[in-house]
């Protein structure tokens, strides 16, 4: 299942500058692992070693925010990663 992934600026160093990429997977977790396969190191910058979404990262499937990595990603849906308000 192919998923369109919207990549925030903070992670485009991994996607060679591309704001959108394609990945495979039926769940958020599967898509993130496929992204890590394509772009080594990607997943750990987004998900910590205990499988928690990092504090300032938001994940959306379509327009629904998801924290559970087992959330399904329907065929044709987009997974959008957002760098939430942070920094200063």
């Amino acid at each position: 299942m192919s998923v369109r992934v919207v990549v925030p600026g903070q992670l485009r160093g991994y996607t060679r500058g591309r704001p959108e990429v394609q990945a495979e997977g039926a769940t958020v977790d599967a898509v993130l692992w496929d992204l890590d396969r394509q772009f080594p190191g990607f997943r750990f910058r987004v998900i910590d070693e205990q499988d928690r979404v990092r504090r300032h990262i938001l994940l959306f499937v379509g327009e629904e925010r998801r924290e559970d990595l087992h959330s399904p990603v329907p065929d044709g849906a987009a997974l959008q990663l957002v760098g939430a308000l942070s920094g200063g």
Binding site: P8, G41, F44, D48, E49, Q50, R54, G83, S86, G87
Partner: protein, 376 residues
């Protein structure tokens, strides 16, 4: 190549290269603009591998490495991380400290993290593994303390020291938690804090000393006289000569109106009796700025029995700096060069062992760490 300074800041890394006489400096960068960089260290063994501990505001922690003097960087294939399923559900928030092992262990590095964890790489920083002997020690949760025993942006494991003559002898420090020692390359650990004050804890009912829970800010081992240690602690300046186990508060010999609170401490590369500190205001609500707004280093030339003020070249008033624990360092030249970076984004140096200082750079982001190296 001539000396270089590796300037890790709140928003990236800059590298400064000195002329052969250290009179002029060329600044280049940034690398990792917009990224918090806690420590950048050149491997003194190959003088080629440069590691940088980095986190971006949104993204998780990692380590980058460069083999071309910081022109290009490649991320570690497996950055420091706790095991999945860790019983305490620990996850690395940031890598705070990097230490190369000694000359007998080329390619071996250690990293200290927040929350407090110790990690080791055997391949020049490409992959990292937890040091289970420390991270999973049954007493470790007591050593590291609670959320109230942490620095404001998370507890720190820092000042990882590898004995220059024996790589199985390791030391580390935690804010808070204290100093610990291993004699078997990280398998077993014991506290090394006798004699160190803990003003932030009540006296024990039985009158005994706390064995751990202290707040060392920076600990150094003399590179030549390896039995001598110095520490700048939250509660004073101390010296320890092994095999002794009791620290001596040599900071009591500092002027009373300055006190002996600070973050960093640095030793002379050849003279074990010489050390420099940069006092900060630890009175009342702990502003952690230069006392009175007048920055100065203090030097001892007699093992801490006396201290002399060094402030030539620094602002005479209204300079409310803080210099963080990793942002004070020395080179190995003769005379020794001293370097510091401050929270105002300035980098200062002395090329005469502290008799005079001059500002090399201004307007950088807040400086987290300054290290010095001599690349190939």
């Amino acid at each position: 190549m001539p000396l270089q300074l590796y300037l890790s800041t709140r928003k990236g890394v800059w590298i400064a290269t000195a002329s052969s006489d250290r009179k002029s400096w060329h600044l280049r960068g940034p690398s990792f603009l917009g990224t918090q960089c806690h420590h950048t260290v050149l491997d003194p063994r190959d003088r080629r591998t440069l590691l940088c501990a980095s986190r971006q505001w949104h993204l998780g922690p990692t380590v980058f490495r460069s083999e071309d003097n910081g022109e290009t960087w490649k991320e570690a294939e497996r950055p420091p991380r706790f095991p999945k399923g860790d019983a305490r559900e620990r996850a690395v928030d940031h890598v705070f400290w990097l230490t190369p092992s000694n000359a007998g262990e080329p390619g071996v590095w250690y990293a200290g993290t927040s929350p407090k964890g110790l990690f080791r790489s055997d391949d020049g920083g490409r992959t990292w593994d937890p040091v289970a002997g420390f991270n999973d020690h049954p007493e470790q949760h007591n050593w590291v303390g609670s959320d109230k025993d942490q620095t404001p942006d998370g507890g720190k494991l820092h000042s990882i020291l590898v004995d220059p003559a024996d790589a199985s002898r390791l030391y580390l420090a935690m804010s808070g938690g204290g100093i610990f020692e291993s004699r078997d390359r990280g398998g077993a650990w014991k506290p090394l804090n006798l004699g160190v004050a803990m003003d932030f804890a009540p006296p024990k009912d039985d009158g005994s000393e706390y064995l751990y829970g202290h707040d060392p800010h920076c600990v150094v081992q003399h590179p030549a006289r390896t039995d001598r240690f110095w520490q700048q602690n939250h509660c004073g300046i101390y010296r320890l000569d092994r095999p002794g186990e009791r620290w001596e508060r040599v900071g009591r010999n500092m002027p009373k109106d300055i006190g002996d609170v600070g973050f960093g401490i640095v030793v002379h590369p050849r003279d074990p009796d010489t050390a420099w500190v940069l006092p900060m205001d630890g009175t009342e609500n702990w502003p952690r700025t230069a006392p009175g707004g007048r920055p100065a280093l203090y030097v001892t030339r007699d093992g801490g029995q006396s201290w002399r003020r060094l402030d030539q070249g620094f602002p005479r008033e209204q300079a409310w700096w803080t210099v963080k624990r990793q942002a004070l360092c020395a080179d190995a030249c003769d005379p020794v060069g001293l370097y510091l970076g401050n929270t105002n984004g300035e980098v200062w140096m002395s090329d005469d062992e502290g008799d005079s200082f001059r500002c090399l750079f201004r307007h950088l982001p807040q400086v987290y760490a300054v290290t010095v190296g001599e690349p190939q």
